[in-house]
Protein backbone atom coordinates (compact mmCIF):
# COMPACT_ATOMS: atom_id res chain seq x y z
CA UNK A 1 0.00 0.00 0.00
CA UNK A 2 1.42 3.35 -0.93
CA UNK A 3 1.61 6.01 1.67
CA UNK A 4 0.64 9.20 -0.05
CA UNK A 5 1.97 11.94 2.12
CA UNK A 6 2.52 15.58 1.53
CA UNK A 7 4.15 18.16 3.70
CA UNK A 8 2.57 21.58 3.60
CA UNK A 9 4.62 24.54 4.58
CA UNK A 10 3.67 25.64 8.04
CA UNK A 11 1.70 22.54 8.98
CA UNK A 12 3.16 20.73 11.97
CA UNK A 13 2.70 17.16 10.69
CA UNK A 14 2.44 15.67 7.17
CA UNK A 15 -1.04 15.34 5.69
CA UNK A 16 -2.12 11.74 5.12
CA UNK A 17 -4.53 10.73 2.40
CA UNK A 18 -4.57 7.10 3.42
CA UNK A 19 -6.24 6.39 6.73
CA UNK A 20 -4.44 3.87 8.89
CA UNK A 21 -6.25 0.56 8.72
CA UNK A 22 -7.98 1.36 5.47
CA UNK A 23 -7.12 -1.37 3.01
CA UNK A 24 -8.08 -2.53 -0.42
CA UNK A 25 -7.61 -5.84 -2.17
CA UNK A 26 -3.99 -6.44 -3.09
CA UNK A 27 -3.66 -6.92 -6.83
CA UNK A 28 -7.32 -7.16 -7.70
CA UNK A 29 -6.99 -9.02 -11.01
CA UNK A 30 -8.84 -12.07 -9.75
CA UNK A 31 -11.52 -9.89 -8.18
CA UNK A 32 -11.86 -7.93 -11.42
CA UNK A 33 -12.16 -11.15 -13.38
CA UNK A 34 -14.78 -12.37 -10.93
CA UNK A 35 -16.77 -9.18 -11.56
CA UNK A 36 -16.56 -9.89 -15.31
CA UNK A 37 -17.84 -13.42 -14.68
CA UNK A 38 -20.74 -12.03 -12.68
CA UNK A 39 -21.69 -9.68 -15.54
CA UNK A 40 -21.43 -12.63 -17.91
CA UNK A 41 -23.76 -14.41 -15.54
CA UNK A 42 -26.33 -11.66 -16.17
CA UNK A 43 -26.01 -12.18 -19.95
CA UNK A 44 -26.82 -15.84 -19.45
CA UNK A 45 -29.65 -14.98 -17.04
CA UNK A 46 -31.29 -12.90 -19.81
CA UNK A 47 -30.90 -15.76 -22.29
CA UNK A 48 -32.31 -18.22 -19.75
CA UNK A 49 -35.24 -15.87 -19.16
CA UNK A 50 -35.86 -15.65 -22.92
CA UNK A 51 -35.79 -19.44 -23.15
CA UNK A 52 -38.06 -19.72 -20.11
CA UNK A 53 -40.63 -17.47 -21.82
CA UNK A 54 -40.35 -18.87 -25.36
CA UNK A 55 -39.33 -22.48 -24.65
CA UNK A 56 -42.80 -23.93 -25.27
CA UNK A 57 -43.71 -21.83 -28.31
CA UNK A 58 -43.24 -24.40 -31.05
CA UNK A 59 -45.17 -22.57 -33.83
CA UNK A 60 -46.32 -25.93 -35.20
CA UNK A 61 -42.71 -27.08 -35.45
CA UNK A 62 -40.95 -29.86 -33.55
CA UNK A 63 -41.13 -29.86 -29.76
CA UNK A 64 -38.17 -30.11 -27.42
CA UNK A 65 -38.99 -33.75 -26.65
CA UNK A 66 -38.91 -34.56 -30.38
CA UNK A 67 -35.57 -32.99 -31.31
CA UNK A 68 -33.38 -33.04 -28.20
CA UNK A 69 -31.38 -36.21 -27.69
CA UNK A 70 -30.51 -36.86 -24.06
CA UNK A 71 -27.74 -39.45 -24.61
CA UNK A 72 -25.72 -36.85 -26.56
CA UNK A 73 -26.28 -34.32 -23.79
CA UNK A 74 -25.20 -36.86 -21.17
CA UNK A 75 -21.91 -37.41 -23.04
CA UNK A 76 -21.45 -33.63 -23.40
CA UNK A 77 -22.07 -33.11 -19.69
CA UNK A 78 -19.55 -35.84 -18.83
CA UNK A 79 -16.94 -34.27 -21.13
CA UNK A 80 -17.35 -30.83 -19.58
CA UNK A 81 -17.30 -32.13 -16.01
CA UNK A 82 -14.18 -34.19 -16.74
CA UNK A 83 -12.50 -31.14 -18.31
CA UNK A 84 -13.30 -29.21 -15.12
CA UNK A 85 -11.52 -31.73 -12.91
CA UNK A 86 -8.54 -32.04 -15.29
CA UNK A 87 -8.15 -28.26 -15.19
CA UNK A 88 -8.24 -28.59 -11.40
CA UNK A 89 -5.37 -31.10 -11.60
CA UNK A 90 -3.46 -28.63 -13.80
CA UNK A 91 -3.92 -25.97 -11.10
CA UNK A 92 -2.60 -28.40 -8.48
CA UNK A 93 0.52 -29.03 -10.58
CA UNK A 94 0.87 -25.27 -11.08
CA UNK A 95 0.91 -24.78 -7.30
CA UNK A 96 3.82 -27.26 -7.14
CA UNK A 97 5.58 -25.35 -9.96
CA UNK A 98 5.69 -28.47 -12.13
CA UNK A 99 5.07 -27.06 -15.60
CA UNK A 100 5.48 -30.40 -17.45
CA UNK A 101 2.60 -32.32 -15.84
CA UNK A 102 0.59 -29.10 -15.81
CA UNK A 103 0.88 -28.79 -19.59
CA UNK A 104 -0.19 -32.43 -19.88
CA UNK A 105 -3.38 -31.78 -17.92
CA UNK A 106 -4.02 -28.61 -19.94
CA UNK A 107 -3.75 -30.61 -23.18
CA UNK A 108 -6.27 -33.16 -21.83
CA UNK A 109 -8.56 -30.31 -20.76
CA UNK A 110 -8.31 -28.79 -24.23
CA UNK A 111 -9.08 -32.09 -25.93
CA UNK A 112 -12.14 -32.65 -23.71
CA UNK A 113 -13.34 -29.10 -24.43
CA UNK A 114 -12.79 -29.56 -28.16
CA UNK A 115 -14.76 -32.83 -28.11
CA UNK A 116 -17.58 -30.99 -26.33
CA UNK A 117 -17.66 -28.33 -29.02
CA UNK A 118 -17.41 -30.93 -31.78
CA UNK A 119 -20.33 -32.90 -30.41
CA UNK A 120 -22.40 -29.75 -29.94
CA UNK A 121 -21.72 -28.62 -33.52
CA UNK A 122 -22.74 -32.07 -34.77
CA UNK A 123 -25.99 -31.75 -32.82
CA UNK A 124 -26.61 -28.26 -34.23
CA UNK A 125 -25.94 -29.30 -37.83
CA UNK A 126 -28.24 -32.30 -37.38
CA UNK A 127 -31.01 -30.00 -36.11
CA UNK A 128 -30.56 -27.62 -39.03
CA UNK A 129 -30.53 -30.49 -41.51
CA UNK A 130 -33.89 -31.85 -40.31
CA UNK A 131 -35.44 -28.38 -40.68
CA UNK A 132 -35.24 -27.48 -37.00
CA UNK A 133 -32.92 -24.51 -37.43
CA UNK A 134 -33.06 -21.34 -35.34
CA UNK A 135 -35.57 -19.71 -37.73
CA UNK A 136 -38.18 -22.47 -37.36
CA UNK A 137 -39.84 -21.41 -34.09
CA UNK A 138 -39.40 -19.20 -31.03
CA UNK A 139 -38.38 -22.27 -29.05
CA UNK A 140 -35.57 -23.10 -31.48
CA UNK A 141 -34.45 -19.45 -31.73
CA UNK A 142 -34.05 -19.15 -27.97
CA UNK A 143 -32.53 -22.65 -27.76
CA UNK A 144 -29.85 -21.90 -30.36
CA UNK A 145 -29.10 -18.51 -28.83
CA UNK A 146 -28.66 -19.86 -25.30
CA UNK A 147 -26.75 -23.06 -26.11
CA UNK A 148 -24.81 -21.34 -28.89
CA UNK A 149 -23.67 -18.53 -26.59
CA UNK A 150 -22.41 -21.10 -24.12
CA UNK A 151 -20.61 -22.94 -26.91
CA UNK A 152 -19.06 -19.67 -28.09
CA UNK A 153 -17.74 -19.10 -24.56
CA UNK A 154 -16.21 -22.58 -24.48
CA UNK A 155 -14.59 -21.91 -27.86
CA UNK A 156 -13.09 -18.66 -26.54
CA UNK A 157 -11.88 -20.58 -23.49
CA UNK A 158 -10.15 -23.10 -25.78
CA UNK A 159 -8.41 -20.32 -27.73
CA UNK A 160 -7.33 -18.76 -24.43
CA UNK A 161 -6.06 -22.16 -23.25
CA UNK A 162 -3.88 -22.58 -26.35
CA UNK A 163 -2.52 -19.03 -26.03
CA UNK A 164 -1.69 -19.63 -22.36
CA UNK A 165 0.11 -22.88 -23.16
CA UNK A 166 2.27 -21.01 -25.68
CA UNK A 167 2.98 -18.33 -23.07
CA UNK A 168 3.90 -20.87 -20.40
CA UNK A 169 6.18 -22.76 -22.81
CA UNK A 170 7.95 -19.50 -23.71
CA UNK A 171 8.21 -17.82 -20.29
CA UNK A 172 7.64 -20.62 -17.82
CA UNK A 173 5.52 -20.40 -14.68
CA UNK A 174 6.18 -16.75 -13.88
CA UNK A 175 3.70 -15.01 -11.49
CA UNK A 176 1.96 -13.30 -14.43
CA UNK A 177 1.30 -16.64 -16.12
CA UNK A 178 0.08 -18.15 -12.85
CA UNK A 179 -2.37 -15.28 -12.51
CA UNK A 180 -3.62 -15.87 -16.07
CA UNK A 181 -3.98 -19.59 -15.41
CA UNK A 182 -6.08 -18.84 -12.32
CA UNK A 183 -8.30 -16.49 -14.35
CA UNK A 184 -8.85 -19.16 -16.99
CA UNK A 185 -9.54 -21.66 -14.20
CA UNK A 186 -12.35 -19.45 -12.95
CA UNK A 187 -13.65 -18.96 -16.50
CA UNK A 188 -13.61 -22.69 -17.23
CA UNK A 189 -15.36 -23.70 -14.00
CA UNK A 190 -17.87 -20.88 -14.53
CA UNK A 191 -18.77 -22.33 -17.94
CA UNK A 192 -19.40 -25.66 -16.24
CA UNK A 193 -21.72 -23.90 -13.79
CA UNK A 194 -23.66 -22.38 -16.70
CA UNK A 195 -23.82 -25.79 -18.38
CA UNK A 196 -25.45 -27.22 -15.23
CA UNK A 197 -28.22 -24.67 -15.79
CA UNK A 198 -28.40 -25.49 -19.51
CA UNK A 199 -28.73 -29.26 -19.20
CA UNK A 200 -31.20 -29.00 -16.33
CA UNK A 201 -33.39 -26.15 -17.57
CA UNK A 202 -33.22 -26.70 -21.34
CA UNK A 203 -32.62 -30.39 -21.95
CA UNK A 204 -33.97 -32.31 -18.96
CA UNK A 205 -36.98 -30.08 -18.31
CA UNK A 206 -37.54 -29.69 -22.05
CA UNK A 207 -38.03 -33.39 -22.75
CA UNK A 208 -40.34 -33.96 -19.79
CA UNK A 209 -43.98 -34.34 -20.83
Amino acid sequence: MSDTTMTMSGSPEPLKFHVEGEHHVENGTLLGFWLYLMSDCLVFACLFAAYGVLGRDYAGGPSAAQVLELPVVAINTTLLLLSSITYGFAVLEMQQNRSGPMMGWLVITGLLGASFIGLELTEFSHLVSIGAGPQRSAFLSSFFTLVGTHGLHVTCGLIWLVVLMVQVSKKGLIPANKRRLMCLSMFWHFLDVVWVGVFSFVYLMGVLP
Partner: protein, 131 residues
Protein backbone atom coordinates in the same frame (compact mmCIF):
# COMPACT_ATOMS: atom_id res chain seq x y z
CA UNK B 1 3.84 0.17 9.92
CA UNK B 2 3.20 -3.46 9.20
CA UNK B 3 2.44 -2.73 5.54
CA UNK B 4 5.93 -1.39 4.98
CA UNK B 5 7.49 -4.43 6.56
CA UNK B 6 5.48 -6.75 4.33
CA UNK B 7 6.25 -4.84 1.18
CA UNK B 8 9.95 -5.28 1.71
CA UNK B 9 9.81 -9.05 1.91
CA UNK B 10 11.13 -11.28 -0.81
CA UNK B 11 9.50 -12.50 -3.97
CA UNK B 12 7.73 -15.45 -2.42
CA UNK B 13 5.93 -13.27 0.07
CA UNK B 14 4.86 -10.96 -2.72
CA UNK B 15 3.52 -13.93 -4.63
CA UNK B 16 1.14 -14.61 -1.76
CA UNK B 17 -0.32 -11.17 -2.19
CA UNK B 18 -1.08 -11.70 -5.86
CA UNK B 19 -4.10 -13.58 -4.66
CA UNK B 20 -2.86 -16.48 -6.79
CA UNK B 21 -1.35 -18.51 -4.00
CA UNK B 22 -3.96 -17.19 -1.61
CA UNK B 23 -6.39 -19.51 -3.36
CA UNK B 24 -5.21 -22.84 -2.11
CA UNK B 25 -6.60 -25.69 -4.15
CA UNK B 26 -6.27 -29.20 -2.81
CA UNK B 27 -6.63 -32.61 -4.41
CA UNK B 28 -9.16 -33.58 -1.74
CA UNK B 29 -11.30 -30.53 -2.52
CA UNK B 30 -11.35 -31.20 -6.26
CA UNK B 31 -12.13 -34.90 -5.84
CA UNK B 32 -14.93 -34.17 -3.34
CA UNK B 33 -16.39 -31.61 -5.74
CA UNK B 34 -16.11 -33.99 -8.68
CA UNK B 35 -17.78 -36.83 -6.79
CA UNK B 36 -20.66 -34.67 -5.62
CA UNK B 37 -21.10 -33.07 -9.05
CA UNK B 38 -21.15 -36.49 -10.77
CA UNK B 39 -23.77 -37.75 -8.34
CA UNK B 40 -25.89 -34.61 -8.74
CA UNK B 41 -25.67 -34.99 -12.54
CA UNK B 42 -26.42 -38.71 -12.61
CA UNK B 43 -29.58 -38.50 -10.49
CA UNK B 44 -31.57 -36.06 -12.71
CA UNK B 45 -30.39 -37.73 -15.95
CA UNK B 46 -31.39 -41.13 -14.63
CA UNK B 47 -34.76 -39.80 -13.42
CA UNK B 48 -35.62 -38.33 -16.81
CA UNK B 49 -34.12 -40.98 -19.09
CA UNK B 50 -35.65 -43.89 -17.21
CA UNK B 51 -39.04 -42.21 -17.37
CA UNK B 52 -39.53 -42.46 -13.63
CA UNK B 53 -41.73 -39.38 -13.67
CA UNK B 54 -45.12 -39.43 -15.32
CA UNK B 55 -45.93 -35.83 -14.52
CA UNK B 56 -43.55 -32.91 -15.05
CA UNK B 57 -44.49 -30.85 -11.99
CA UNK B 58 -42.52 -32.61 -9.22
CA UNK B 59 -39.78 -33.62 -11.68
CA UNK B 60 -39.21 -29.97 -12.66
CA UNK B 61 -38.90 -28.97 -9.02
CA UNK B 62 -36.50 -31.81 -8.25
CA UNK B 63 -34.31 -31.10 -11.30
CA UNK B 64 -34.08 -27.41 -10.41
CA UNK B 65 -33.28 -28.25 -6.79
CA UNK B 66 -30.49 -30.65 -7.77
CA UNK B 67 -29.13 -28.10 -10.28
CA UNK B 68 -29.09 -25.46 -7.53
CA UNK B 69 -27.18 -27.78 -5.18
CA UNK B 70 -24.72 -28.68 -7.94
CA UNK B 71 -24.08 -25.00 -8.69
CA UNK B 72 -23.25 -24.45 -5.01
CA UNK B 73 -20.93 -27.50 -5.09
CA UNK B 74 -19.13 -26.04 -8.14
CA UNK B 75 -18.84 -22.64 -6.48
CA UNK B 76 -17.35 -24.03 -3.27
CA UNK B 77 -15.06 -26.81 -4.53
CA UNK B 78 -14.04 -25.62 -8.01
CA UNK B 79 -14.30 -21.82 -7.82
CA UNK B 80 -13.08 -21.77 -4.18
CA UNK B 81 -15.76 -19.35 -3.07
CA UNK B 82 -15.93 -18.43 0.58
CA UNK B 83 -16.82 -15.34 2.56
CA UNK B 84 -13.16 -14.42 3.09
CA UNK B 85 -11.80 -14.50 -0.49
CA UNK B 86 -10.73 -11.08 -1.84
CA UNK B 87 -11.73 -9.45 1.41
CA UNK B 88 -15.38 -10.45 1.02
CA UNK B 89 -15.87 -8.58 -2.27
CA UNK B 90 -16.26 -11.84 -4.18
CA UNK B 91 -19.20 -12.84 -2.04
CA UNK B 92 -20.74 -9.36 -2.21
CA UNK B 93 -20.60 -9.38 -6.02
CA UNK B 94 -22.04 -12.89 -6.08
CA UNK B 95 -24.96 -12.01 -3.81
CA UNK B 96 -25.71 -8.90 -5.90
CA UNK B 97 -25.64 -10.99 -9.08
CA UNK B 98 -27.92 -13.64 -7.60
CA UNK B 99 -30.44 -10.91 -6.67
CA UNK B 100 -30.36 -9.57 -10.24
CA UNK B 101 -30.62 -13.05 -11.75
CA UNK B 102 -33.63 -13.94 -9.59
CA UNK B 103 -35.35 -10.65 -10.48
CA UNK B 104 -34.62 -11.13 -14.20
CA UNK B 105 -35.75 -14.75 -14.37
CA UNK B 106 -38.80 -14.68 -12.13
CA UNK B 107 -39.83 -11.22 -13.35
CA UNK B 108 -39.64 -12.13 -17.05
CA UNK B 109 -41.49 -15.40 -16.67
CA UNK B 110 -44.14 -13.92 -14.38
CA UNK B 111 -44.81 -10.89 -16.58
CA UNK B 112 -44.77 -12.72 -19.89
CA UNK B 113 -47.17 -15.43 -18.78
CA UNK B 114 -49.59 -12.84 -17.44
CA UNK B 115 -49.22 -10.89 -20.66
CA UNK B 116 -50.39 -13.93 -22.61
CA UNK B 117 -53.38 -14.32 -20.27
CA UNK B 118 -54.33 -10.67 -20.43
CA UNK B 119 -54.25 -10.23 -24.20
CA UNK B 120 -57.61 -8.85 -25.29
CA UNK B 121 -59.25 -11.61 -27.32
CA UNK B 122 -61.70 -9.24 -29.02
CA UNK B 123 -58.84 -7.29 -30.58
CA UNK B 124 -56.94 -10.42 -31.55
CA UNK B 125 -59.91 -11.89 -33.41
CA UNK B 126 -60.37 -8.92 -35.72
CA UNK B 127 -58.02 -9.51 -38.69
CA UNK B 128 -57.55 -5.75 -39.11
CA UNK B 129 -55.74 -5.60 -35.79
CA UNK B 130 -53.36 -8.42 -36.57
CA UNK B 131 -49.86 -7.44 -37.63
Amino acid sequence: MSEHAEAQHGHDEHDEHDGVSAVHATMKGYLTGFGLASLLTLIPFWLVMSGAFAKSGPADALILLLAGIQIIVHMVYFLHMNTKSEGGWNMLALVFTIVLVVITLSGSIWIMFHLNDNMMPSLMQNPANLP
